[in-house]
Amino acid sequence: MSRLSVETDGSNPLFTPLVYVGGVIFGFGLALSGMTRPEVVLNFLQFEDLGLLFVMGGAAVVTGVTFYVASRFDSSAPLTGRAYGRRIRELDRNVVLGGAVFGAGWGIAGICPGAAYASLGTGNFPILWALAGMFAGAYVQGYWRSTRTNDEAAPATAD
């Protein structure tokens, strides 16, 4: 992802409304798909209903086609001037280690971050337990990593 124009992100008056509308569509889709309901996720992980395969699959097909087509054209995004890129991260042991910890948490709680936000919107207030845990977990790893590598100039990434 280009970071050339991060300083000017948000300067276009349509930037914030567009991000909000995209979030509404995203959250509506998560709620419609059942990802917002821990029972549905656990049923998937326990092989009782494999429908969730079509959620990630359907979403990845749409993003795959969109990213592919947009990045073929030598143009930039109208609201920010950013180049159209793809989401590429370095593969290291953190991907496997973090993925395993995330998987254990997803298997215990039945909820992932985006689905937790949408779940709160549906009125599932007990999900605040999970959100509190997510913030606590993100804080603990950030604090721990900052004390271990605070002299290392870490590149900014976003996903």
Partner: protein, 160 residues
């Protein structure tokens, strides 16, 4: 064969696939307008930068405002679905999964998504859509471990 499929997909596939297409569409709308590939879990760290001076969170401070907007949109989208389906504040969507599972599991999700560079949306939707090897490894890892964990918890007799 058909009976086997019905056992694996007792609720069909239509709402799942439609929901997935909309998740992809929301990501695509933001991408086409702004060039930003928006995942959900960075919000956890970028939002902490408002209240914490831990250097790790400062890395995400530049994007924290639009990530709040994105998350408020996701919350609104969930509410819109609940209202249109008639289940808003009726208790229909309130989970029976026990609070300690949500809290403990959520904590591991918070650690793991951030150490592992992405979550179900960052790796699963955006990374896979980018044909990123890193994301395919991440997705394979978290789904395999999640399946093993959920079935282990179930085998211990914890319900729900």
């Amino acid at each position: 064969m058909l009976e086997g499929l019905e056992a694996l997909f007792p609720n069909g596939v239509v709402p799942y696939a439609l929901g997935g297409l909309l998740v992809g569409l929301g990501t695509a709308v933001i991408y086409l307008g702004t060039g930003i590939i928006a995942g959900a879990s960075t919000f956890l760290e970028s939002t902490l930068s408002y209240v914490s001076s831990v250097p790790r969170f400062e890395r995400f401070a530049y994007s924290r405002d639009w990530r709040v907007t994105f998350t408020l949109g996701i919350v609104s989208g969930g509410a819109l679905y609940a209202v249109l389906s008639g289940g808003f504040l009726t208790g229909e969507f309130v989970t029976d999964v026990q609070w300690w599972r949500l809290l403990f599991g959520g904590t591991l999700v918070g650690v793991g998504t951030r150490v592992g560079k992405g979550c179900t949306s960052g790796h699963g939707v955006c990374g896979v859509g980018s044909r990123s090897t890193t994301s395919l490894v991440g997705v394979a890892t978290f789904i395999a471990v999640a399946i093993g964990t959920a079935q282990f918890v179930q085998a211990l007799g914890v319900t729900p």
